[in-house]
């Protein structure tokens, strides 16, 4: 069965993906809202930046994050001068990397959901005395539920499958930064195909079940929401 390091890697992966998803939903909501509603002329620059991780090799993203966060990087040296330890090769650094890496998978479904809902329900809520935050929580959030579900699952699943970024800024420290995809790589390197199979098959199944859940739930919501 699974070795102790494999279980540790599984736990690190789930913790990383869960935390990243939560952070992305919180940060992604205002960003997606702004992208869906702003009339700012250069909005497409921001849109392109958000979409960048979709096509950028993860190693490139990881490399620049390493430079930024490393002890000699602009952020890293600033933090060291404040007495904070460098984030490279730490779990926190991994979370930061994952947030960038999975950003488009969360922001784009939310942006689409907000754009589809449009301004009208907000205007209606305003004429019924709801203040702006109240409008968001009582109208937009429930109407955007399918979008949130898609965003959460895609963000989570994509982070679980992360490899290049982790390798660059996380290293391979068991219990701290060793995640499943790297554990699989290690097993293959060591010709431990049985264990590689177990982890890979598990990931395959997990990804499929997650996507199936999204599609099933979204179809059910669509029936009642249109």
């Amino acid at each position: 069965m699974l070795s102790e390091t494999d279980i540790l890697a599984l736990w690190t992966t789930l913790k990383l993906a869960g935390l990243t998803t939560v952070i992305l939903l919180l940060l992604g909501t205002p960003l997606a809202w702004w992208l869906a509603h702003s009339r700012f002329r250069y909005k497409m620059i921001v849109e392109a930046l958000v979409a960048l991780p979709l096509i950028l090799p993860p190693t490139v993203l990881g490399f620049y994050l390493l430079i930024m966060l490393g002890p000699n990087g602009p952020l890293g040296s600033l933090m060291q001068s404040l007495g904070i330890q460098s984030l490279a090769f730490t779990f926190t650094g991994l979370v930061i990397g994952s947030v960038f890496y999975s950003l488009p998978f969360v922001v784009q479904p939310l942006q689409n959901a907000f754009a589809t809902i449009g301004r009208r329900p907000l205007e209606v809520a305003a004429t019924l005395r709801a203040r702006p935050l109240d409008q968001f929580f009582s109208v937009v959030l429930p109407l955007a539920r399918p979008g949130y579900l898609t965003a959460a699952v895609l963000g989570f699943a994509h982070t679980v499958g992360e490899f290049g970024v982790v390798l660059m800024i996380g290293g391979n420290i068991p219990g701290e930064t060793q995640v499943l995809s790297i554990a699989i790589y290690d097993h293959v390197e060591a010709l431990e195909y049985g264990q590689a199979h177990m982890l890979s098959g598990g990931l395959l199944l997990l990804s499929f079940v997650l996507l199936l859940t999204v599609y099933t739930l979204n179809r059910r919501y669509r029936v009642t929401s249109i």
Partner: protein, 363 residues
């Protein structure tokens, strides 16, 4: 009490520059061709157009002036959008409660039951909006707006998206709003028949500006406005049922200018004595005589004074004139030939008789 507005809004392709003062009771129709800014004006009044500047005062409440501009959620209004914008994730009951729940207790003037009764929604309460017809959705939207205790009800062509049958289904509810509640309504429309039926006061918009405003009966018959020159130009008369000739199935209607007889057969309540009714008399159904005719099949003849003769402004009606008439203070229109005007020596101030061939009951 009045509603006073001076509102400006500039967009790339459109400028709204509306100054008006209308009574703060009854239904005021905002009328004009598509693209004249009716909806934009309504949205500006609601505070939904953030760039709009100016002043809006209802009674003694200032919603907007140079110094401040209340956001929409602080304006005590109800807004019924053109397509019913019900919250799809909430049931009909939850939709109705949405605005109501957000009012301070002392402002909750209507309760849910009252609004539900007024708009006949009992059977719909547990349903989801997706399962309602267009007419039902608009009734829910109106009830929802009422429950937020508006000082002013704004309605943006609430019937435009409905077919004729659904319109007929919902129009009686407007009459009820009008007679049972004392909430001023600004009603956007481009349908003359709706306006003639519902409005007390008319605000005519053209190209973002207020062209004219006044009581509906005056506005429809003013020769300087396009309405009087329409093919279906008509006068509106508010009358009261004063008696019946049952052997002929006719009801007698009294108005300041005299009496009319109209058939009441087929009316669901048979026009009881005392009921207020609104009548429409088309200009082309009115002919003029110098003496009161006897031996005519025309029932409705009233003495009037010619107030003005106006040229019709379309080339094909070169043979015709529009005569403006006064029946003891009630304006009427007659479309007659130029030849007849000469033959009868019509001129302003001349007393004549108006023979009316057809009268339409509007409610």
């Amino acid at each position: 009490m009045t509603i006073e507005a001076q509102l400006h809004l500039t967009r790339d392709d459109f400028t709204l520059d509306a100054t008006f003062c209308v009574p703060s009771h009854g239904i005021t129709a905002l009328f004009g061709p598509s693209g004249c800014g009716k909806t934009t004006l309504l949205r500006t009044i609601a505070g939904l157009e953030k760039e709009a500047r100016g002043r809006f005062v209802i009674g003694d409440t200032v919603w907007q002036d140079e110094a401040r501009c209340l956001p929409t959620y602080q304006r005590e209004l109800g807004y019924v959008f053109q397509e019913a914008s019900l919250f799809e994730h909430l049931s009909v009951r939850q939709n109705l409660e949405y605005g109501f729940k957000r009012l301070p207790k002392k402002k909750q003037r209507f309760d849910l039951d009252q609004a539900v009764t007024l708009l006949d929604l009992t059977a719909l309460l547990p349903r989801q909006p997706a399962r309602l017809s267009g007419g039902e959705r608009q009734r829910v939207a109106i009830a929802r707006a009422l429950l937020s205790n508006p000082q002013l009800l704004l309605m943006d062509e609430p019937l435009a998206a409905l077919d004729q049958q659904r319109k007929q289904e919902i129009l009686p509810f407007f009459a009820r709003l009008h007679s049972e509640l004392d909430i001023p309504i600004l009603y956007v429309s481009h349908a003359t028949d709706e306006v003639a039926r519902l409005a007390d006061y008319l605000l005519l918009l053209n190209d973002g500006r207020v062209q004219a405003s006044g009581p509906i009966a005056d506005m429809l018959t003013r020769a300087d406005l396009p309405l009087a020159h329409d093919h279906d130009a008509a006068a509106i008369i508010d009358a009261t049922v004063s008696g019946h000739e049952t052997q002929f199935s006719l009801a007698r209607l009294t108005f300041p200018g005299g009496q009319f007889s109209v058939p009441y057969a087929g009316r669901s309540n048979g026009l009881p004595v005392g009921q207020r009714v609104r009548l429409r008399v088309l200009a082309r159904d009115v002919s003029l005589t110098l003496e009161q005719q006897t031996g005519t099949s025309i029932l409705n003849i009233v003495p009037v004074t010619v107030t003005a003769l106006d040229e019709e402004n379309t080339p094909q009606s070169r043979a015709q004139l529009l005569a403006q008439l006064d029946a003891n203070g009630v304006p009427l229109l007659a479309r007659i030939t130029r030849k007849s005007a000469v033959a009868l020596a019509l001129e302003p101030g001349k007393p004549v008789f108006a023979q009316i061939k057809a009268i339409a009951l509007l409610d």
